[in-house]
Amino acid sequence: MSVLQEISPNVRNMIQLESTVLAIRARQIKEELRQKVRKPYKEVIDVSWGDPHRAGVKPLSFVRQVLSACLYPQLLNSDTLPVDVRQRAQTLLAGCDAGSVGSYTAAAGISEIVCRVSEFITRRDGGVPSYPEHIFISPGSQWALTSILNVLVNSEASPRTGVLTPVPCYSTATLSIMGLGADIVPYYLSEEQGWELQVEELHRALDSAKGACNPVALYVINPGNPTGHVQSRKSMQEVIRLVAEKRLFLLADEVYQDCVYGENSEFVSYKRVLAEMGPPLSDTVELASFHSASKGIMGECGLRGGYVELVNLDPAVMKYIYKLFSTYSCAPVLGQIALDLMMNPPQPGDPSYPLYSEETQHIRSTLAHNVKRVFEVVNSLPCFCCQPVEGGAFAFPRLHLPHKAIEKAKEMGMQPDMFYCVRLLEDAGVLVSPGQDLGQKEDTYHIRFCIMTSEDTMEEALRRLSSFQTQFMKVFS
């Protein structure tokens, strides 16, 4: 008999994602295509992850040149790489023990890089001070989020710890919360208002938790994942007032801060809004803000570089947070370097600036174009509608599925949006995520797909989606 019949209930309770099933099938289809099995398409378009490089966006040359020189310092001895690349690599290597990216670093990250992160934050926030001692670099922002949640969640407490979480929300965050033995307290974003966060809904969610669990934190994602909504200053102020009043810890996931497309949208950080609200709020609201090198123009998901900035925390608690981070040694050095490069790109006058500028402009205009095309195309299709994508990496359009389709899905033992995704994959070779993995209002159906792609990939995905949607609606109406 297996000794592992018993495993952690927290792990068992983590929901099994339908996306996993789709991913497995997608791999099989790719293999079938390799075996020259005939299909209506030549390759699978994978837009299920927020993974720009996978979807055809090119890495930035400056970033990759600096990384290569850090990895193989012999490159510093020749003219192969531009002079500013070499200088930057030299500076970065000087911050590594014995000049090697293979050395461990300080637990919170290379101190010179942490300082520069702090300077970046201050610049970004129009001068609001930021302290290096309150910043921890981690292998991607998810790691930092899980660590901070770990400090907040007492899995043995009764009633259980609760975390207010948006619906919809990308699944990794909800799984992290469940995996730590905390309860999700859902608050619904308003689809009809462009996926706005309405503070009345937060109040309702808190009331619903009474007697069920003990909410300790509010998790917000701005710009939203999957919604792409960019929060207004007013809304953020309401959130801050609420967390102060209800004594909640504010977890602000801001990894898409560089991805803002809406003409009337502007990203402002929770830290800045908090600071501008002045004391006592600015001195007391406890905030963790997360950022990452995985998103934005760089899109370096695979390097695993992210950070958390902690604001107004009890210094005694900070000591334990440091200890917790130290047990994991340190974030991967290349990820730390990627963060640094993201925050300190080439400047006008630098030899690498023209190419850097050209590449980033190209990516930005591609994303703006993609977002426009998605809105146009999806909203022109029958039974399909999409809120404007103001920011972030995804579109999360709503499917108004005909009754026949819903019945067919039931017959097959699937949720309707999963059924749609399965057919979309099989018939059109496009891999997206079903709304059920992210959460949605009952009897509504959505799909999520990445818009941080090359222009060609987006056009092809939309073309296939259009013809599939038209056909699907014909069959099932």
Binding site: H53, S176, G302, L303, L334
Partner: protein, 491 residues
């Protein structure tokens, strides 16, 4: 919540406090980067600012970081990684063809042909296949299934993931996990964080830190009174002790695990670091399969490896893997679900691991240089292991077991009673008191044995054998002189 008044105006206390934070996190300690290291960093800062000290640099012999101590990266590995990072270099004729070929193959397996794309959570498939083949070769042909390989962010990530999966139960049914004393404190930290029950089994210092099954039996029987023992962790070659377990011992442990229905976690990250004459690394998996089907089809096990140690020393890449053996398929599905929350291990670390399991072959251009560099690193470590044991054993009051493998020495130090009393006065455990003074007087940073666990009434420190040979000689002499001074002062 506590309410204080400031100028008569009531203000509320913090939302997140010591009282309401996760109590498990409060119990986490990790001595390798603990108080003494923080003091060492502070001293380094002071030196930089021009403060005068009896030394000009701090030697950080507290952490198994080979590159930081001057060990050079292996050229081939860095060439391939540079090519993966910036594929334009594939046109550069300064890079050898075998490096280019490896880079192309890795990039082909990455989303969008970029190391910046996420990989599957379990790790890039072709790399897992390569790891499986490496394990088969290492273990004399015993088959390894790539589906049982999970790439991870250093071995630590995989170790913690397994423990997260396994720890459950309430009260007397709470999972007990057997760990050695002394141990690498990641284990005790993870057990504290997960509120698992730590079951300590003592390694035998008088017998070169070997493991005795009788001691395992003693520990588990005592533990059954208050918990449900389900896991046995063993580090081989050992950290901090450096012992390389004999084949007989490994068989005994496997037999014990089967009898007691324990999941075996074999931390084998130092498998290439074996120095002593007569010592050999035996992989737990190989021994398991050679014990026949009765064991090989039933004992459940995970073995862990990393790119941070051995001859590579690439700690900063956070590369590693675990292989799970005989895991229930339903449980494996849960494991796969759990690892997805981390998204994926760093892709450069995965690429590096691929090179470690796929090194240059004799007919390839990079072979000679690669072998030369690898041999030099391992030979230097071997020399330093012997040197360390020799010099420490000339010091009255220091007894040093042979450093059979790994990267550390864990000598036992005799402390005069007066010193023990003085330490108590200052609120420090005696070996921390000893090590702190050494740091202040000589700028050498070690980790006190209390950070790893030791028998009551004994004291040790852990020192790495990583500084370059000439510097190591000086460090050993300084410690010798310090120990004699210390003993004199407190006699």
């Amino acid at each position: 919540m506590s309410q204080q008044a400031v100028n008569g105006v009531p203000c509320r206390g913090k939302v997140l406090t010591l009282d309401n934070m996760n109590p498990n996190v409060r119990r986490v300690e990790y001595a390798v980067r603990g108080v003494i290291v923080q003091r060492a960093l502070q001293i380094e800062k002071e030196l930089k600012e021009g403060v005068k000290k009896p030394f000009t640099e701090v030697i950080k012999a507290n952490i198994g970081d080979a590159h930081a101590m001057g060990q050079k990266p292996i050229t081939f590995l860095r060439q391939v990684l540079a090519l993966c990072s910036y594929p334009d270099l594939l046109e550069d004729n300064k890079f050898p063809e075998d490096a280019k070929q490896r880079a192309r193959r890795i990039l082909q397996a990455c989303g969008g042909h970029s190391i910046g794309a996420y990989s599957a959570s379990q790790g890039i498939e072709c790399i897992r296949q390569d790891v499986a083949r490496y394990i088969e070769k290492r273990d004399g042909g015993i088959s390894s299934n790539p589906d049982n390989i999970y790439l991870s962010t250093g071995a630590s990530d995989a170790i913690v993931t397994m423990l997260k999966l396994l720890v459950c139960g309430e009260g007397r049914d709470r999972t007990g996990v057997m760990i050695s004393i002394p141990q690498y404190p990641l284990y005790s930290a993870a057990l504290a964080d997960l509120a698992a029950v730590q079951i300590s089994y003592y390694l035998d210092e008088d017998k070169c830190w070997s493991l005795d099954v009788a001691e395992l039996k003693r520990a588990i029987n005592a533990a059954r009174q208050h918990c449900n023992p389900r896991v046995l962790c063993i580090i081989n070659p050992g950290n901090p002790t450096g012992q390389v377990q004999s084949r007989q011992c490994i068989e005994d442990v496997i037999r014990f695990a089967k009898e007691e229905h324990l999941f075996l976690m074999a931390d084998e990250v130092y498998q290439d670091n074996v120095y002593a004459e007569g010592c050999k690394f035996h992989s737990f998996k190989k021994v398991l399969f050679e014990m026949g089907a009765e064991y090989s089809s039933t004992v459940e096990m995970a073995s862990f490896h990393s790119t941070s140690k051995c001859y590579m020393g690439e700690c900063g890449f956070r590369g590693g893997y675990m292989e799970v053996i005989n895991m229930d398929p339903e449980v494996k599905a849960q494991l796969t679900k759990l690892v997805s929350v981390r998204l994926c291990p760093p892709v450069p670390g995965q690429a590096l691991l691929d090179l470690v399991v796929n090194p240059p072959q004799p007919d390839e251009p990079s072979y000679n240089t690669f072998m030369k560099e690898r041999t030099a690193v391992l030979a230097a470590l071997s020399e330093k292991a012997g040197l360390t044991e020799k010099i420490f054993n000339t010091v009255p009051g220091i007894i040093c077991n042979p450093v059979q493998g790994a990267m550390y020495t864990f000598p036992r130090i005799t402390l005069p009673q007066k010193a023990i009393d003085k330490a108590k006065e200052e609120g420090l455990v005696p070996d921390m008191f000893y090590c702190m003074r050494l740091l202040e007087e000589e700028g050498i940073c070690l980790v006190p044995g209390s950070g790893f666990g030791q028998r009551e009434g004994t004291f040790h420190f852990r020192m790495t054998i990583l500084p370059p040979t000439e510097k190591l000689k000086i460090v050993l002499q300084k410690i010798r002189d310090y120990h004699m001074r210390f003993t004199q002062e407190f006699s």
